[in-house]
Symmetry: C2
Subunit: 196 residues, 2 copies
């Protein structure tokens, strides 16, 4: 039996996106956004949604670029901190001891210690209400070599990304658990069933 929860953004899990940008004086900032994700395969595009009140919103609007750094399990507290305080008031890199590095292809900084980084050029901006959606075309992805397996592809266990649950749920960060099956794979027996 289903119960109505009203009109809310209850969707699980979400990725934890630490968004890097420079201000007008070239000072690096980073903030954690829970709203965003992948939006297009070709060209590769991702989105982050930010409130106009944030320092990052102004930075990205002016510089037309941002990065997304993905924390691993050991960096959940630092990622949470990046979402708790405003870059208007604090130098978050100084407070956390993390290192801003200039991206190679876009005008924004990423977090050196985080294992996966997407460098994005701003391509579209959409006003949705409280949040503005920034769409970035991914110009490059950088990953710690220790997160690659012997054959080269990214090993999700070595990356050890974290997922988030907000909204009406107990708000928390989660590790990835058990592998349930392969994508484009575990559903194939149902095709055979349908054909028979």
């Amino acid at each position: 039996m289903k119960k109505s929860m009203g009109a809310k953004t209850l969707l699980y899990p979400t990725p934890v996106l630490v968004v890097g940008s420079y201000d007008a004086e070239g000072r690096p900032n980073a903030m954690t956004a829970a709203w965003g994700g992948i939006a297009c395969s070709r060209p590769p595009c991702i989105t982050v949604s930010l409130r106009a009140a944030t320092a990052s919103h102004g930075n990205i609007t002016a510089r037309k670029a941002f990065t997304v750094s993905l924390p691993d399990r050991s960096q959940a507290a630092q990622a949470d901190y990046f979402g708790l305080v405003s870059g208007h008031n604090v130098d978050k890199f100084a407070a956390t001891g993390l290192t801003p590095v200039a991206a190679e292809f876009v005008d924004a900084p990423f977090i050196a210690e985080f294992p996966l980084v997407l460098e994005c050029e701003l391509v579209q901006v959409h006003e949705l209400g409280l949040h503005t959606q920034f769409i970035g075309e991914v110009k490059d992805v950088k990953i710690e070599e220790r997160c690659l397996d012997a054959e080269g592809p990214l090993d999700i266990r070595r990356l050890d990304p974290i997922a988030c649950a907000l909204g009406d749920a107990t708000a928390g960060y989660y590790a990835l658990g058990e592998l349930l099956g392969g994508a484009y794979s575990i559903g194939k027996p149902l095709i055979a069933d349908a054909d028979s």
Copy 2:
């Protein structure tokens, strides 16, 4: 040491969004989208990105509505199947034995057996390239009562949502693992550090 992976959509984890829509004759369809997420808190908006070749793309464009049904751990194979075959060719509900139910607030069907459903009215459409991004305003969320805890909020462990990893990684579906800490909480000691 970081290695460049090129311009790709490597972002983890992503939610598993089973998108429901009606065709011109009112036949229900559902397809699994890995690209999408939350986009705005007020009004509550989510996104799904679909290729123009999909039946769902045409359905949503015509009907201005869609639902997103979230599978749990036991439904990963069914969710995978909904992404493997096209609604142009197959009645996916008949093949899986799942039940389409008309949404209460929008002109689209949801999957009765899946534990969490978002009913969405189409509010914006953005062409990004291979994928079109559909932005839906959430008109209602419905959840199985067994997924609520005694006090009413959603219990993530009872919901048991699945996460996805695609791209250069070994493509798979994952359960949620260990709770690492509370959101807006585990980062607070870093504020104290910065103030001291």
